[in-house]
């Protein structure tokens, strides 16, 4: 959602319309449709999840009531550790993704002129294919006797069969690959909006390119960083396909644990309690990053 906002924002707000405009009745009307949609199809199931999380499980059903047992289980021992592991996993994968996305976004924003639409398009096009197909493609590339093995051997960077599949390395490669486009786009948008005169002024006043980057570009790109982290870390908290396909399902994450409670154990209350905890974690991240994203308004100097 935030990405769409920022893209649209960057296109339409040519500087003049950036100021606040009083909303009209028609706007309210238009906004009410998606709001109603969300209320029915998002908030209602969410409410059920919250209610279920306080109930008792009857295999494939829920006995409504009020008990905190599910939360106690979800936070105790094994599941507590899983929760912590999931947060660490999402945080590190998101950080890696950011590290890979920043230089790309910087390059596109600064060093392409007429080809930037093409550059953005090239990054986004693979994103139109199914997530699963992209991960399966990586699976094939990384498997023994696959393309990566042949290339690495030919370049003498590696000798013999490549056993990268079903390792943590493969999982992180997959995570960065899959989430890279959604990290690049907000970073590009914000880097593109940093006024050139600011950079030139910094250089004219004697700052080295590095110092200019560190004290001008980087702080001004803060909202983009926050958005990129938000858009990658949040879905990563629920990620279960990549660890399964590329990591051999070793080291269980929260997404898998919740799905298993809902489907295999038919224990809706425990699954719901775990889902609510993840939701709270997401809310905390969003609130923390929302402060940074506010900076978008301040950029238009």
């Amino acid at each position: 959602m935030v990405a769409v906002e920022t893209i649209v924002g960057s296109r339409s707000s040519g500087g003049a319309s950036a100021g606040a405009v009083a909303p009209r009745t028609a706007d309210h009307l238009i906004a009410s449709i998606p709001t109603l949609w969300l209320a029915i199809f998002f908030l209602t199931p969410l409410a059920f999840t919250v209610i279920f999380s306080f109930g008792r499980s009857t295999f494939g059903g829920v006995e409504l009531g009020f008990t905190l047992d599910n939360y106690a289980t979800a936070l105790s021992g094994f599941y507590g550790a899983t929760f912590v592991r999931t947060v660490i996993f999402a945080a590190s994968a998101s950080a890696l993704c950011l590290a890979a996305a920043y230089p790309v976004a910087y390059f596109i924003a600064r060093h392409t002129t007429r080809r930037r639409t093409l550059a953005i398009l090239l990054i986004l096009i693979p994103y139109f294919s199914s997530f699963l197909i992209r991960v399966m493609a990586l699976h094939m590339l990384m498997s023994r006797g696959g393309a990566s093995e042949i290339v690495l051997n030919a370049l003498h960077l590696h000798a013999g069969p490549l056993d990268i599949l079903d390792t943590q390395t493969a999982v992180f490669i997959g995570m960065v690959y899959a989430y890279l486009p959604i990290a690049i786009v907000p970073l590009f948008v914000v880097l593109d909006r940093i006024p050139r005169p600011l950079i030139e002024a910094s250089r004219d006043l004697g700052a080295s390119p590095f110092k200019t980057f560190l004290f001008v570009t980087l702080p001004l790109s803060r909202p983009g960083i926050a958005t990129a982290v938000l858009l990658t870390a949040v879905p990563m908290l629920g990620e279960m396909v990549i660890p399964k396909l590329l990591g051999g399902s070793r080291g269980v994450l929260m997404g898998q644990a919740i799905a298993s409670q809902y489907l295999q154990s038919q224990n809706y209350p425990l699954g719901s309690a775990m889902a609510v905890l993840v939701l709270i974690a997401v809310a905390v991240i969003v609130l923390a990053l929302a402060r940074l994203t506010k900076g978008f308004d301040e950029v238009t100097a």
Binding site: F41, T44, P45, F59, G60, G61, F78, A81, T82, R85, L132, S143, R144, G145, P161, D163, L165, D166, T167, Q168, V171, M240, V241, P243, K244, L245, G247, G248, S249, R250, G251, V252, Q256, A257, A259, S260, Q261, Y262, L263, Q264, S265, Q266, N267
Partner: protein, 370 residues
Amino acid sequence: MTVDFRRSGLLSRRSILGLLGAAPATAALSAAFPGSFRAEAAGSGQLNVYSWPDYFSTGNLEAYAKKSGVTPNITTYDSNETLFAKLNSPAGAGFDIVIPSSSWIKQLADKGLLQEIDHSKLNLASLDQDLLNRDYDPGNKYSIPKDWGLLGVVYDPEAVGGEIETWEDFFKAGEKPGVSGKVRLSDSGWETIGPELWLQGKDWNTATPDEIKAAGERLKAFAKHVKSFSGLDPNQVANGSIVLAQTNNGTARAAIGLNPKLKWVVPGPFSELWVDNYAIVKNAPNVDQAYDFLAYQLQPEVQLEETQYIGFPAALAGLKEKLPADTKNVDIIFGGKDLDFKKLTSFVVNPETIGTYLQVQAEIQAAAGG
């Protein structure tokens, strides 16, 4: 005539669907939109089948449509859990035939989601009697076997350094250098903990939660040797990135087809027999049509075609002899030369213990690190 065992390779539903884990979305959707996924309104001259994807020979379906004038309307699910959740909700109305696995028959029947089958309308005599009247559904009250498979082990005898005959051999072999780190275990709790329970002389269907946890301890210690719990890609065993793997006979046969030096065994003292079954839904709107379709499906030539299409054996007696003579590794289709059905047991999901199996499995997978 070449045999198209298209499902025994990467496309085997037990491997690929396990890999995808797409079930939660389906369940969530059907929970969020009750009724919206309902099969089309039923009337006479209709048949609504809810089944695994690509689980009926297209040739047979066309022939049935021509013969009866009714084209079965097939909707698909990707796990027994999804089937259960759907039938257990308003969205489950309108289906006639479903294909639950042996493990879920009891739960579906206990919830009153299946109807008793009238045996007088079907010819069960032509089926393999070893597959009838099994523990998961005594007297086949609710289920007719469709096709079946086994839990066994595919391995590279050279890397493992010997033969595997029991699950003890399997665990010992996994610890050896050269094998450790190249082992694949199932991602289903009962298939990993079950072997240790059998070694301890226990039955996986009657083991108490404490016994399951105790048996799980061995698996947690063993986990450090495991490379993967995900669905097995036959290529991984064929190319040596995995040398010892729990898997089903279909995947094993595909791997051995790629690399003939590999071996398949159904280890002792016990191992798993899973059977996918035809069952009729409690309030099926087209019961007569359902029986007509089942009677058609149980005919020998139809069973033969089904076997060739899905890659797992249908329930027809003497099926092995009826397959074309040039079928490769035909023994493995049927689990091996000297398969003893008395040493096979089918898992039955029990609300009292299923949570424990899954919890311990999650702990085993976590212990394998990542």
